[in-house]
Symmetry: none
Subunit: 269 residues, 4 copies
């Protein structure tokens, strides 16, 4: 209730390095991200294995559901980020300190690796090669009539898609969770459902709108891109920076937006 004066010390929050609670909370972030990576990738495989004409619709619905649930499961422990984009924009809007954000993002990256390892343990290598397995790829090397051809999205186009989708994600869903009055008015479950739906929609849209084979859709979560890239390597590293730079730009734009909009809520009645 009482507004603490915002000092550089609060923003940096170095004393949180020694806080056991921050490190404990980061365990939830780690396991949450691991569960997310494992769930997302198995959902992608299962959706495509299922003989349905609309695998991307099924996939997007399940993605929306699993994200909603994992956010609800981790929210009271760590704040429910499980995504470096959320942690970074939480710093920019002054919700958490830089130290806590760095610890969270590290935990999320480790979680991405754990999730990719868990997937490797249960999936046969044949399936691993058939599917891109949740890795964030811009292009893929496919056999062509005149030797292997690289098909995929141009880096510039992918970067724009990453920036726009990340910004819509922050603008249309995360903001509601960050703004205390909105959060209270809507309730925890509604907000987690909205975040899940927005991400599901963005997955649906970004995987089909480019109609470009080889591009696996917007990343929207650098940690889930890093894990598979570290474990399986190869072409997953091509243009990997896009999945970090794009969201970062979106986070800065979102941070500016939250500063620009009026701090009092609009009331017409």
């Amino acid at each position: 209730k009482q507004q603490h004066p915002i000092t550089l010390k609060t923003i940096l929050g170095f004393e949180e390095i020694c806080s056991v609670d921050v490190w404990r909370a980061s365990v939830a972030e780690l396991l949450g991200t691991a569960a997310l990576v494992f769930a997302l990738d198995t959902i992608v495989i299962s959706s495509i294995q299922t003989e349905t004409k609309t695998p991307n619709l099924v996939m997007s619905t399940l993605v929306a559901i699993i994200i909603t649930i994992l956010l609800l499961a981790t929210f009271p422990i760590s704040g429910g980020h499980i995504n470096p984009i959320v942690s970074f924009s939480a710093v920019l809007t002054g919700l958490i300190s830089i130290t806590r954000a760095v610890i969270y993002i590290l935990a999320q990256c480790v979680g991405g690796i754990v999730g990719a390892l868990a997937l490797k343990a249960v999936v046969s290598s044949r399936i691993e090669q058939t599917f891109s397995l949740g890795g964030c790829t811009l292009n893929v090397v496919a056999p062509g009539p005149d030797g292997p051809v690289v098909i995929g999205l141009e880096t510039g186009q992918a970067l724009w898609l990453e920036i726009i989708c990340s910004f819509i994600f922050l603008f249309a869903s995360v903001w509601m969770a960050f703004d205390g009055r909105q959060a209270k008015a809507l309730g925890r479950v509604t907000i987690c459902i909205i975040i899940g739906i927005v991400l599901g929609l963005l997955v649906f849209v970004s995987t089909t709108v480019t109609a470009q084979k080889g591009y696996a859709g917007a990343g929207l979560n650098p940690a889930r891109c890093l894990g598979p890239a570290l474990i399986r390597g190869g072409h997953l590293w091509d243009g990997h920076w896009v999945f970090w730079v794009g969201p970062a730009i979106a986070c800065v734009a979102f941070g500016l937006y939250t500063k620009v909009i009026p701090s009092q809520h609009f009331h017409s009645y």
Copy 2:
């Protein structure tokens, strides 16, 4: 609670030009409309790309969801218009001043342009030509057996459809948000869901009821029609006035309706 005396000064509200809050709120309108245009158009492309037999059903459902969420995201900042129809009818029912409405509508038009630009950045020109890309069109020039033929809806029919659909949109959903007592009884989330569903239904109905190729359905939002027309031009300008005049007539009719109905609510218990 206390009814302010309605003077010409309040209605015009010139002093709001200097209000920083109005301009700040208009940023939410601008970005909200941009996100709306981008989301609507990518949803249309994705729905048609998806190999489903009912792309218009999928599209309408997603439109309902995305509008609900964007309204929830902008409601506490600017009142959640992201549509010149809503801003104009809000003036006619005395909720906001003319100055604020003009600023909002300008912001929405700029937002429509930004959204159309964002779309251009991520979509290849091949796809851009295949789909009408959310532009509001009455007709399209198609290759016929005896040279190019213009197929589409007659302007009169389109104008009637625009007036009727806009009025149903205002009568069946926006009114609930404008009437303070209704809004309080139903709650913010319910109202935004209702507005989203009504617009989704109108999209579903207006795209199929005429069974006329070339007509892209009722516009129901002049700002989203203006953006693509300015960016891509061409046949998007044909009959563009319909998407402004139709809703304007509906807004005036709706304004009269709100004056005619009794100001006390009906109570049978």
Copy 3:
């Protein structure tokens, strides 16, 4: 709270003819019924135009949604009838006076006509002939091998279906809105959703259960049957009385039922 003594004067309520509020409220009934007729008929066309294997499922779902929303939009103004069945049974249960009911039913009939005219303005005559366009028909003249043949439901069977469906509509949904304690416990939104779902279910059942071409399902709303019959005439007048007499019998039966059931609610806990 205070029970007014029920006199013949209250039941007739002649003084309400001069009440401006009743006439104003009837504007909402008129426009509500017009929107209902327009929406129902365009939904029927759109559902059948959509290439889906289950058009009646889609149609029923959309009917349930649109009725829910229109009831919510008119409820606080006029009580949300938009259906002569509801107005007539509201008289029989003593909720409104006979005068108000007559004014409402007149407004609903005019609304039905306005809706049918609005439909005529936007739909091409080719589509108008392909579909029965929401008109309430018992049979249709179809070309047969030995000249035109009348196919459809027998009048007796249609009357029974009309009585049973109307009574289920009143018994299973409208009663909850009429009974003050139920209405308060469930809340306005829940009740409007229930009424919408019950009508949607009855549409689904009555259009498929007879498996008889030419019969367009139970009318369940005389006003929506009258409008198209007056505008387009022809075979829409065949057996039109069924759609008035059937619901009337159901209303009387429902009136008796509300008198028979105990006035105290049953409590087991």
Copy 4:
């Protein structure tokens, strides 16, 4: 409210053997598990019998619904476990005593047998052989070109899948029910729906992700695996220990996780 001191006596809880309430509650566990086994197996049969292209999607949805309902039905009586994994992890998080857990798990195993017997009573032996009938199998003996061949999953892979899926089940859904503050904030119905959805998702994923015939998906409930194995025997006993050891490891990991995370909830506002 008052925190009892945790002594070895409370943890063991030997006095609960004489408690009539514990034994009565175990009846709900027994019947709940029997209903679960019967329902799961009939759902599997019905889903595959239904001529749909996506039987696993239909099945998973129905599994989610039936589990939600059975949990809601048994929750106020016994706490709603109907799964040895839940009972075992409830001991590890200190919610119930060891004695009560042992009684519950015994009841669940007997329930699994009762359910398998009930299924045998109503299903013809032809169908019983066509389907694996909810039994938990790693592999199946199929006729091959060179005599019978054993096809299925390697034991190590199956164990990893069992551990990971059980942990996600505990981490993403059961934890919300175990944590008092979460449970109160979300409400009973929401939590039961979440548990149902998570299990449905895991069923969907685990049956398709391995793309390996003979493997019937993750067990996620040792009691439902034991019943069919005891009644029908044969190859259902192959690797049956996996369905007990895997979840047990997950429970221990989950127990550690609940000790590590901070006991105060995270609050940013």
